[in-house]
């Protein structure tokens, strides 16, 4: 076929003429989209590209016409940036891995923590180092979890152990399970987070049981041809005052930010099962459960659950009562502190305490930028407010528009009712 473009002047004329009865038909024939109502670009009679500026762009959220030259956004119906990036990530499947890299994430609160994601990024580096013989990342997860994005975090194989004996604080049963993993698949590397959430304890137990000398507090990994494993690591020691450069051992306990988390690929997270049931063993440590601690005694910066009050709170008695019933640590915005309703050390925000709560309930707080900075690290933010347009509502995962006093009263009633039912059932 020849490369010469054959033009049909009549069809081009019809394509330009929106009133022509065959206009749409011809447009489709010429391969131009009619999504915007008219063709925005076509070749003129002398071979020049002609543009119709009225046909490009879209109407923005404020009713103003916007033209996006990058061509990414084509109007409101594009589904947002999140949806498009998730779909466009290339999916990686490793059918027959040459070796396994085992990772045991902390899963605090049933989700992968930032530390876990960094560790999975490190595991990916180890697994993908040689493209000819790719390894697979195996995540061993204990107990019930709420995570559904293991694939996005870089997990190829997922071993989920939800037996009752590994639930709660059961280091010996978990250690038994990890030894079973070692016997079943013999991973080339073991990676655990060096964190207080359980990874540091379990990792050291595993090292003692396997007889491996681990590297603890690892924060850097470099390829090194001279080392037996092909890698060299830098580990913190002596209470954080020394760096040890050493060949990488089989078992690593790594610090947070040891590697970049996986962001560009999507992995299979294929479920695995242990070939045999977990070995029964005598539990020498018995877990009697968590002890109720006084939430007011927990430092604001490390409290897990904060109920915070702002200018919108009128019934302070009710607020303190709600905090007590919910078992939440009390916080406050700057206005509430300045007005003398709360103590200065309860202030949340850039000028007060930067909090790291998992759940932050903001009652009557409009969300000044300093306050929003202070709650950046919070996972779930709940807002109770009268004003539906305030900044806190935009930040919140769940916002209830209404009178905070009444909502808190209803919430206290619900919690007390649930406790009563539980007591009656027991």
């Amino acid at each position: 076929m020849s490369d010469i473009r054959r033009r049909d002047p009549r069809k081009e004329w019809i394509a330009r003429n929106r009133l022509h009865p065959r206009h749409l038909e011809v447009l489709a024939e010429l391969g131009r989209s009619d999504g915007q109502g008219a063709a925005s670009e076509w070749m003129g009679p002398h071979g020049l590209m002609r543009r119709n500026p009225h046909a490009v762009g879209f109407i923005g959220p404020n009713g103003v016409k916007r033209i996006d030259r990058s061509g990414v956004q084509q109007g409101q119906g594009s589904g947002g940036p999140q949806a498009s990036t998730a779909a466009s990530k290339p999916r990686v499947e490793i059918e027959a891995p040459a070796f396994l890299v085992a990772v045991v994430p902390d899963m605090a609160g049933g989700r992968l923590t930032g530390h876990d994601r960094d560790l999975l990024g490190l595991a990916r580096r180890l697994a993908d180092a040689d493209p000819a013989t790719p390894g697979a990342v195996l995540a061993v997860v204990f107990g019930e979890h709420k995570e559904d994005a293991f694939g996005e975090a870089g997990v190829d194989r997922l071993l989920h152990l939800a037996e009752p004996e590994v639930e709660g604080f059961a280091p010996e049963a978990r250690l038994g399970a990890l030894v079973a993993v070692e016997q079943a698949w013999t991973p080339r590397h073991w990676l655990l987070p060096d964190s207080k959430l359980g990874g540091a304890d379990l990792g050291r137990r595993l090292a003692a049981r396997l007889g491996e000398r681990p590297a603890t507090g690892v924060w850097q990994l470099e390829a090194d041809a001279e080392a037996p494993s092909g890698w060299r690591c830098t580990a913190r020691g002596a209470a954080g005052t020394l760096d040890f450069q050493r060949a990488m051992p089989r078992l690593i306990l790594a610090l947070a930010e040891c590697a970049e988390p996986v962001s560009e690929t999507h992995h299979a997270a294929q479920a695995l099962a242990l070939p045999e049931a977990l070995p029964a063993q005598l539990a020498r440590i018995e877990d009697l459960g968590q002890v109720a601690v006084d939430p007011a005694g927990v430092a604001l910066s490390e409290a897990e659950f904060i109920l915070s009050a702002g200018n919108g709170v009128r019934d302070w008695e009710g607020f303190h009562h709600a905090a007590e019933v919910l078992g939440a640590t009390e916080g406050a915005s700057r206005v509430a502190v300045d007005d003398g309703f709360m103590a200065r050390h309860r202030q949340v925000g850039a000028t007060g305490t930067w909090v790291t709560a998992r759940v932050y309930v903001a009652v009557g707080i409009s969300g000044a930028i300093q306050h929003l900075q202070g709650i950046q690290a919070c996972d779930k933010v709940v807002a109770i407010n009268m004003d539906p347009g305030c900044d806190m509502i935009k930040r919140a995962d769940l916002a209830v528009i209404g009178d905070s006093t009444k909502v808190l009263e209803a919430l206290v009633a619900l919690v007390e009712q649930a406790r009563e039912e539980k007591r009656n059932a027991a």
Binding site: A208, R209, A238, A239, L242, E257, A292, A399, I401
Partner: protein, 267 residues
Amino acid sequence: MRPDTHDKGRLAVTVLVSVGRHPLTGRGRRADQDARGVELARALADAEVELLHAGRLDAGSEAALRGYLGMGFEALSLLEQPAGADVLPALAEALEAAGPQLVIAGEQAEQGEGSGLLPYLLAERLGWPLVSGLAAVEGVSQGVATLLQALPRGQRRRLKVRLPAIVTVDVAAPAPRQSAYGPARRGRLDVQAAPVVPDDDLARWQAQPARKRPKRLKIVKAASARDRFKAAAAKAEGGGGQVLTDITPEQGAEAIFKLLKEEGVLR
């Protein structure tokens, strides 16, 4: 080894102590976590507490070890070890011979590798259970100890452990008392010979003062200038949050209650 002189009724407790390092001056001192362990042992009712250290005895370490004696002890057992030795065999043999019911140690040393592995290796070698991050010992009865373990975010967990056991303490344990000068001067350091095993691995590694870790950069992976601009100018927003308008307070409370329940923060 020491003769077994424990009374039958009293709980035999051994605290493993090490020589710490002051973070600013670099001088030897009581290691903070070990001192907390000693404080924990002192607070135990009806317990016979012994101090055990494996390491060198020189001018710097003697001052630090006397700091522990100043917390109210007459003697400290010292297993003589050269620098760069693996203290595990010496400690394991001493503990096997003495046979304490409870061994308390700090979580990580302030000098040397500081990997925090020693209690775990001891537990594995002696076949004892181990509990880390202890906040308090609530009671000991009939060979079972009730312990309070510190969890992150100020939470506590109660555990029952069969003795003999090894426990480690970190900063959640009670702060140590001040060391008194007189008892520290008067206390004895019982130096004992112990098997010496050199730590060859540690000698092979390169140690250097800790470098400051590089700050993580915010990496923007954007294909176009428009995306980069949007990422740079973005406001911190949750995005996709659920907003409930025109509802009764009961419905609102119901939604919040469901979320709190899902997150597991209600007890």
